[in-house]
Amino acid sequence: METNLEKIARSLRKEILKMVWQAGSGHIGGSFSSLDLLVACYFGGFLSFESHDPYWPSRDRFVLSNGHVCPALYAVLATAGFFPKEKLKRLRDFQSPLQGHPSRLALAGIENSSGPLGQGLSVAVGMALAAKIDQAKWHVYCLTSDAEHNEGQIWEGVMTAVKYKLDNLTILVDKNGTQIDGRTDEIMPLGDLAAKYLSFGFNTLEIDGHRFDQILDGLASAKRHSRQPTVIIAKTILGKGVSFMEGKPVWHEGPPTKEELSRALKELE
């Protein structure tokens, strides 16, 4: 039996396909590999937010560091009620709030403008520090990818999170093993990412990023953990959900043809 979260994710994959097809460009592969993580955060009861009051001071913060997978975040935010679903049609359009890479000032619900890789984790660390200074209870979630760990700045952020014992920060790594020009193992091997995080001093969890029971367990244990930040390294599949896209680096970026779109939508029925 399909669970509620699985049902939401399946319907959002269809939205994302249509969005990128309409826009004529966009990143489907990473949007699909990270979608289940996003759905679990927003609809699994972990992220505290008010879509009618997007700047509510006590809200949890969700920072998308690898900004190019924003079609997934846009689809999630629309479903969560931050803006009408109708607007999804305008991805990457002139004067649309749904910019090609997310813009905080263009769209309520976006916590951080991102695009250049490596910066979002630092911003998330800054937010978590602010909560600590104010002794506020809100939590910061930061979605990043395995390839984003090519950026040295990620490791600067990692060290700072450990130094300041940011147990109000959870990093989600979408480990889909793929980047723009090919396999992560060939472009820049990351080695044992979990061992790296462990040695830096993180509470380190490894899960299957497409199993909601594992994602929810990970998020729950991250929230319980104290005096250390948590990383959830989620093994995922690029293009997850559409058979002919799964694991194919070519789907990192680019729209489906009309024929591919209808085949993909049929698979997701």
Partner: protein
């Protein structure tokens, strides 16, 4: 004779910040292992919970600053001008400016005035890097008191500000700091024959030069936005303009003034600054100023040539 203790713009910054933080609880400092040089030891001891030390990691520092600012803090992110803005320019571009985060970027040890450390540590292009960023305000104080006043002004402004600080101690250069504002300037000396536009500690040399040639001296402490009205009014009266800066002539005050004049008041303009070169070490930075035409005699010579 009363002996007054000489102080630097970075001293003015450090002291202002301690004073500010007492009343304004939102002030937070992010430091990249330069708290002694940036005169932040006092702040770090008085307000340890609001002093974030990220180590030698200027990119992360700027992202952390943006995150703090977007959570309601007034953030001062501090380093040397040769590292910040430079190593972390894209973090300033996207995480700070594109987010319109309330971050004050403080770059100290700017210009040749940094002296013995040599070219790698003499930021000569920081203003160029910052001028091109949408919404960025650029302030450059000339002495201790002005740095104190501009630090407070920067904190009150909502949005990104770059504060350019310098290493050497100087005597007081500017008499009055009461009416400083973003987009403002100060006429430090009235004159009729030539308009001298400058900022920072080199103004001491400019004032000496101007006195020899009946020059008007304007302190353009707000480099962006720049006080077009005052600059144009003065240039219209004198008919001749010289810009003087301890910075590259590409993209700094000279360029900003050229952009204004060429569009509304084309006049003879000379730019004194560093001309497509790196700096170098010198135990006395005045040797470097002399080499690049930034001493009063060299400035007066350029003015004299213009007047002939």
């Amino acid at each position: 004779m009363i002996k007054t203790k000489l102080k630097s713009t970075r001293d003015g910054f450090g002291e202002a910040l301690v004073k500010l933080a007492k009343k304004e609880k939102k002030i937070v400092v992010v430091d990249a292992d330069l708290k002694t040089s940036l005169r932040l030891v006092d702040f770090s001891q008085k307000y340890p919970e609001r002093f974030i030390e990220v180590g030698v990691a200027e990119q992360n520092m700027m992202g952390v600053a943006a995150g703090l600012a977007m959570s309601g803090k007034i953030v001062f992110a501090t380093s040397f001008a040769c590292f910040s803005p430079a190593i972390n320019w894209n973090n300033i571009r996207i995480s700070v400016c594109y987010n319109h985060a309330n971050v004050k970027i403080v770059g100290s040890h700017a210009g040749l005035a940094t002296g013995p450390d040599g070219a790698s540590h003499q930021a000569l292009e920081d203003i160029s890097l910052m001028r091109v960023l949408p919404g960025m305000v650029i302030l450059a104080p000339s002495d201790f008191d002005q740095a104190f006043a501009l630090t407070i002004l920067a904190a009150r402004h909502k949005g990104p500000v770059y504060l350019r600080l310098t290493r050497p101690t100087t005597a007081k250069i500017v008499a009055d700091n009461k009416n400083l504002k973003i987009g403002g300037s100060q006429i430090l000396r009235k004159g009729r024959r030539i308009t001298f536009l400058s900022y920072g500690p080199v103004l001491a040399e400019v004032l000496k030069a101007a006195s020899k040639v009946d020059g008007e001296v304007i302190n353009c402490y707000s480099l962006k936005p720049i006080d077009q009205e005052t600059i144009l009014a003065s240039c219209r009266r004198t008919g001749r303009v010289i810009t003087i800066e301890d910075h590259s002539i590409f993209g700094g005050l000279g360029s900003a003034v050229a952009e204004i004049l060429i569009q509304s008041l084309p006049l003879p303009l000379r730019m004194i600054g560093i001309d497509d070169q790196f700096g170098e070490s010198s135990r006395d930075f005045l040797d470097l100023w002399e080499k690049h035409g930034l001493t009063s005699q060299k400035i007066a010579a350029v003015a004299g040539k213009m007047l002939r």
